[in-house]
């Protein structure tokens, strides 16, 4: 990767809410596993049941976390956009994606190669601490939102409208 590309990636990482505030040395290291990529509408960032071999920081566009149910078709569970992250199944064995993530509007993202990213985190406990703290915050927010979704708060009390 050219010095220019690395500098560009570091700038983008500095601006992304997930990596904002990381020490520059940590950002430099992360670029070893990162590339800047564009994804067209209709393509998948992750496919349910397949290898979760990438982690994404979204810069532009919109993607949807989806689940396919044979009798109900595709259920769109959540949308993600600029400033969001996609994927955490790459962190834990068996590294398999739990949902489909489909691009709705052209996505520009910093894409991390999961195997390389894991190695970087294994080798550098300080980087791992920064990274995992942010990831836990994201997971906590998602769990929180999912709980609210589960309540089905717009339903009529005592039955469905």
């Amino acid at each position: 990767m050219s010095a220019e590309t690395v500098a560009d990636l570091v700038t983008r990482l500095e601006q992304h809410p997930f990596t904002q505030g990381f020490p520059t040395s940590a950002l430099d290291k992360l670029t070893q596993a990162a590339t800047l990529q564009t994804f067209q509408p209709g393509t998948f960032l992750l496919r349910e049941g397949r290898d979760a071999d990438h982690f994404y920081l979204l810069l532009q566009g919109q993607a949807a976390i989806e689940l396919y149910l044979p009798e109900r078709g595709v259920i769109r569970l959540q949308t993600v956009g600029p400033g969001d992250v996609v994927g955490w199944s790459w962190l834990l064995p068996p590294y398999r994606a739990a949902f489909d993530v489909t691009v709705i509007n052209t996505v520009q993202a910093i894409t991390f190669d999961a195997a390389r990213l894991r190695r970087l985190l294994d080798d550098d406990p300080t980087l791992a601490a920064h990274f995992l703290r942010r990831l836990v915050a994201v997971i906590a927010q998602r769990v929180h939102a999912t709980r609210l979704q589960l309540i089905d708060m717009y339903a009529v009390k005592g039955g469905r409208p």
Binding site: I75, R76, A145, Y154, A155
Partner: protein, 291 residues
């Protein structure tokens, strides 16, 4: 704690001066909004003056069934015929939803407190609505847009269960097309035909953050209580002062005038002290079990 005594300010205005007697209004128009929800436009008897403030409600009586509180959902600039958007949940609302033009409904009102639009002047206004909660907020939106230069940024965050349950969809589109208002919409669950945001209404805040400055914001919230609780937290976390957060509450009602105690909520009567409350007044009650 004892409830506060009724305040004369809460009495409705009308030629009879008797807030107990339902006045016969005639249904002049009916529109199906979303499944199970209609808007009725009700015309008062000839010469009966009717005016309301955004956030207020009427007690609607379908003769022989029962009387229920329903917010006024129309434009306070053109208060008659009076618009009410009603979701069918039980006997009375079912009877209302089934009314046709020409049918007659008993109306008492308007009752209750209003969205504090006068305090909102000079501030950014963030409106957060969930489901049918958009109905009591719509008069406030009409008012804000009518006097648009008096306010800072106007931001509407609206969440519904699914795309087909988005209330006033055409109006939302129109508002979204304006250059002087931000409209962000989300649904709890979408399908492939829905290209908008999916997630609960609170997940819209990261997108909305650029449109308002918390210190200078006044917020109006209406929707299921759980949604209001979590929305209040998001606003407080961002630094919106608690005294500038307003919520609208619902409880079963009977007299609508602070006399019978049916709608008591802690030390308050929702019908008279509310339905619109500053969050600060409710902070210690909000979310407490069995209030």
């Amino acid at each position: 704690m004892m409830p506060t005594p009724p305040s004369p300010a809460a009495q409705p205005t009308g030629p009879t001066g008797n807030a107990w007697v339902p006045i016969p209004f005639t249904v002049v128009r009916r529109r199906r909004e979303i499944p199970g929800t209609v808007t009725l436009w009700l015309a008062p008897p000839e010469g009966y003056p009717f005016a309301f403030r955004p956030g207020q409600f009427n007690m609607l009586y379908v003769f022989g069934v029962k009387e229920v509180p329903i917010s006024i959902s129309g434009d306070p600039g053109t208060p008659v015929p009076v618009a009410h958007t009603i979701r069918q949940v039980g006997m009375a609302t079912q009877a209302l939803v089934n009314l046709k033009p020409g049918d007659v409904v008993g109306v008492r009102g308007p009752f209750g407190s209003a969205w504090p639009l006068e305090h909102a002047r000079g501030h950014d206004v963030v409106i957060v609505a969930g489901g049918i909660g958009l109905a009591p907020l719509r008069p406030a939106i009409y008012s804000l847009l009518r006097h648009r230069p008096q306010y800072g940024n106007v931001v509407l965050l609206y969440g519904a269960r699914s795309p087909r349950e988005l209330l006033y969809a055409r109006e939302l589109e129109r508002w979204r097309g304006r250059f002087d208002m931000e409209v962000l919409v989300t649904v709890d669950r979408g399908d492939r035909t829905w290209h908008g945001h999916v997630g609960v209404v609170t997940t819209l805040f990261p997108q909305a953050d650029v449109f308002f400055s918390p210190q200078n914001t006044i917020a109006f919230i209406c929707g299921p209580e759980i949604m209001m609780r979590f929305t209040v937290r998001e606003l407080l976390d961002r630094g919106v002062p608690p005294e500038r957060i307003f919520v609208s509450l619902e409880r079963n009602m009977h007299c609508g005038q602070g006399l019978c105690g049916h709608c008591q909520y802690g030390p308050f009567f929702i019908c008279k002290d509310g339905p619109v409350f500053p969050y600060q007044k409710l902070a210690t009650l909000f979310g407490i079990r069995e209030i």
